[in-house]
């Protein structure tokens, strides 16, 4: 098997021996005939297609449905590693919630001089409507996806906090289903922690955040922009698995001070809305008046305690990349201890010294837009051409405040299954975190995204990345 230089291979030692986490899997793998695996690999794709596990891509004209390529070699994480990660994630997520609450209330972290005021003053994600208001149960970010990367045996870094509407959890679940359907025998050999109760945990966590107005068992609904949204499959999947209604803005209306959904019997109140539309489309009366995705008047109902919105509007203030660079300070400020999971070193181009350093070292750095996502609008110095770097330099100089820079990490690799056998590819990991008033619940697993091109560091599905099943081993 080929080995990339200077990177941590999660399956094998430099000498070629198998690391303990993968021992059971590799033993099984070596017994499988190659053509059987190749055939199963093809079957998996057909099964995803038939089941309609797709995401939409907007090209010219019509939206096209694509599959996210699925790789059938699992990524394995030991129980001990996972325990360490979950402690770090819990710490980080409680700090995130405390931070958002503080920003919309007393702003003590700013008074204490730990983060600059400019961070939110001109931030588009900042919602004045949330000032002084506390959501039901005090929870701002109910569903969080923390993106992690690894560079060595114990070296995990947080790459990004997705505190608004993280997606991908349906792939975590479907990847596992696919693996169990293809290789049932593996799951009797390897003790893998189950992820399948995520929807039940999500429903429970959301219900625990019901507003005062809820009577009896809270009614939960998932708000989707509709079938043309890239993550529609996931919205439908989660609603289905939770037994919740999947609603669009046109199904909802404010009646008698509650948000109600139009059923065949008339309007019925919704207590908790797991929304998968962005803040600015949530309420045309408060935000974008042209939007038809949201519900006119929902913000008034929200502020009067008539509904829980998950994640809370204005949560995005905590997850842009400028805030990210302050996360170590933020974690320490609210939890009183050093972050268990470090950030990737980050230069804020808004600061003159940092900008100077970044400009001098563009060819070695990854430069990202502060508000960008999906791997767009970024420069990967080491793989960029001279021309691309020159063009990016101009953009950067014009609006330095829009950018941050990070070193190019030697991301760990996991093997993927290719026509020529196993080959190492870079991966990241997005565990999914549920927050309710008294609990932070992390499902043992997550979405491992994998760059399918040799040497590529871009794992985003919109940029041709794939996914693989993530196994957290039981003790």
């Amino acid at each position: 098997m080929e080995q990339a230089a200077n990177t941590f291979d999660e399956m094998r030692h430099e000498g070629g021996g198998v690391r303990p986490a993968y021992a059971d899997y590799c033993e099984w793998f070596d017994q499988q005939p190659g053509d059987l695996l190749r055939r199963k690999h093809k079957d998996a794709e057909g099964s995803f297609r038939r089941t309609g596990i797709t995401f939409n891509v907007y090209g010219e004209g019509e939206a096209e449905e694509r599959l996210i390529p699925f790789d059938m070699v699992p990524r394995v994480i030991t129980a001990a590693e996972w325990r360490r990660l979950t402690r770090g994630i819990e710490q980080r997520v409680s700090a995130l919630n405390a931070f958002i609450h503080d920003l919309y209330h007393r702003q003590e972290i700013i008074r204490a001089g730990r983060v600059p005021e400019r961070l939110f003053r001109h931030n588009e994600a900042w919602l004045p409507h949330m000032v002084g208001f506390t959501p039901p149960g005090g929870v701002y970010t109910h569903i969080v996806g923390i993106d992690l990367v690894r560079t060595g045996p114990g070296d995990w870094f947080v790459l990004e906090d997705n505190a608004r509407t993280p997606s991908g959890v349906s792939y975590m679940l479907e990847n596992r289903e696919t693996m169990m359907a293809m290789f049932p025998e593996l799951f009797t050999r390897v003790p893998v922690a189950s992820v399948s109760d995520y929807p039940r945990r999500l429903a429970k966590s959301l219900a625990a955040c019901a507003p005062d107005a809820a009577r009896g068992k809270p009614t939960v609904a998932v708000l989707t922009p509709g079938i043309y949204n890239s993550a529609y499959y996931e919205h439908a999947f989660l609603a289905d698995q939770m037994g919740a209604e999947l609603v669009e803005g046109s199904d909802l209306r404010v009646v008698g001070g509650r948000v109600q959904m139009r059923t065949t019997r008339g309007y019925e109140p919704v207590d908790v809305l797991y929304r998968r539309v962005d803040d600015e489309f949530l309420d045309p009366l408060t935000f974008n008046p042209a939007s038809v995705l949201g519900v006119p008047g929902i913000m008034d109902v929200y502020r009067s305690g008539g509904i829980t919105i998950a994640n809370a509007p204005g949560t995005g203030i905590a997850d842009d990349k400028a805030i990210y660079s302050f996360m170590p300070e933020i974690v320490e400020f609210y939890t009183g201890s050093k972050p268990l999971l470090p950030n990737v070193q980050t230069w804020r181009c808004a600061e003159p010294d940092s900008l100077a350093y970044v400009l001098d070292n563009l060819a070695e750095l990854v430069v990202k837009e502060v508000h960008g996502s999906g791997g767009y609008g970024m420069l990967i110095g080491p793989t960029a051409s001279k021309k691309e770097i020159a063009a990016f330099r101009q953009k950067l100089c014009a609006k330095p405040g829009n950018y941050i820079a990070q070193p190019t990490l030697a991301l760990s690799t996991c093997p993927i299954f290719t026509a020529k056998g196993l080959a190492p590819r870079h991966v990241d990991l997005r565990p999914f975190v549920l927050v309710s008033p008294d609990k932070i619940d992390i499902t043992p697993g997550g979405l491992t995204r994998v760059a399918l091109k040799k040497g590529s560091l871009v794992v985003n599905s919109s940029q041709g990345g794939g996914t693989k099943d993530t196994w957290v081993l039981k003790d």
Binding site: Y232, S250, R262, T263, T264
Partner: protein
């Protein structure tokens, strides 16, 4: 259940039924055209396009009624808003909208049918492929209904799906009978001729009723018997009486679930009473075309009332 979900189930099955009936009609037209010389075949193709209500849009893009142009127009033309390809798209889009209300088996039946038919209709359909395409579309109907019957909870969603099926089937079959009477026959003097019986034979085939009819009537092909069979025979699952019988039952289930009857039930009772008391003599007295027109209108009014009563749309 959300009104929009009910609407989605209703339309998903309407589109499925419409695609299937379009394919059945096309098959009948194709067979008729095969038994004609070139010139009469053109008349057969024309009447088929008329029956499908596509005359205007067809003639905007075509100067003549040539077989392969007609079937490709009906099956896959992007200019044709009612092509089978577009109906399959609409059916699947509705299935995606109602994904949380249908079972995985039902979804998979729809999605795989859609994949198969979309692949078949990617390129122009040759004469040799028409049969395969039609069969695949009919099989999609069978597969989907089977998946639904075998797996779907008998909740209101099931009844909305069935309501959609029978509203659409009633409409389509009425139009098929009407086409025979008004478009296929150039003049009344053909009544009873071999051309007449040959066309009735194809009409029966297009609703898969040929064998049943022959079994019941010992091979006697004549308008009276066929009209009685297609309109009034409750044993035949594509007759108008059967469709409205089922529709009536499905609406009764919805009323029971909701605890009350609504406007659509009143219209349904009226329509059912009229059909219950109708005889084949009565139909010819009113005039077959007149009778069918009123039936189609009543059927459409019921569908509209259902959408209103169950809050399909805002």
């Amino acid at each position: 259940m959300l009104g929009r979900t009910a609407n989605g189930l209703f339309w998903m099955f309407r589109y499925l039924e419409r695609a299937e009936n379009t394919a059945r009609l096309l098959e009948a037209g194709f067979r008729m055209a095969l038994t004609r010389d070139l010139q009469t075949a053109e008349a057969e193709w024309r009447s088929l396009v008329h029956t499908l209500g596509l005359k205007e849009v067809y003639e905007r893009h075509h100067d003549s009624y040539i077989g392969h142009e007609v079937w490709n127009f009906i099956l896959r033309d992007r200019e044709n808003p009612n092509s089978v390809a577009r109906m399959m798209d609409a059916m699947r889009a509705n299935a995606r909208v109602t994904r949380t209300a249908i079972t995985t088996e039902l979804w998979t039946a729809i999605n795989t049918s859609w994949m198969e038919i979309t692949a078949l209709l990617k390129r122009p359909v040759s004469q040799g492929q028409v049969g395969e395409v039609v069969e695949t579309i009919r099989r999609a109907g069978t597969l989907t209904h089977g998946a639904m019957e075998g797996t779907l909870l008998r909740f209101e969603g099931y009844h909305f799906a069935r309501v959609g099926t029978f509203v659409e089937r009633a409409d389509n079959v009425a139009r098929i009978i009407d086409m025979k009477y008004y478009l296929l026959l150039p003049s009344l003097r053909y009544v009873g001729s071999t051309m007449d019986t040959g066309q009735w034979e194809q009409v029966l085939r297009s609703v898969s009723g040929d064998r049943a009819y022959h079994w019941l009537n010992a091979g006697r092909i004549e308008a009276r018997g066929i009209v009685e069979f297609l309109v009034l025979d409750r044993r035949f699952p594509r007759s108008l009486a059967y469709c409205h019988g089922e529709l009536d039952e499905e609406l009764a289930c919805l009323a029971a679930i909701h605890g009350h009857e609504a406007h659509c039930h009143k219209l349904m009772h009226e329509a059912a009473t009229i059909l219950d008391h109708m005889t084949v003599d009565g139909i010819f007295e009113i005039g077959l075309h007149e009778f069918l027109t009123r039936f189609v209108d009543r059927n459409a009014a019921i569908a509209e009332a259902i959408a209103q009563d169950y809050r399909f749309l805002v």
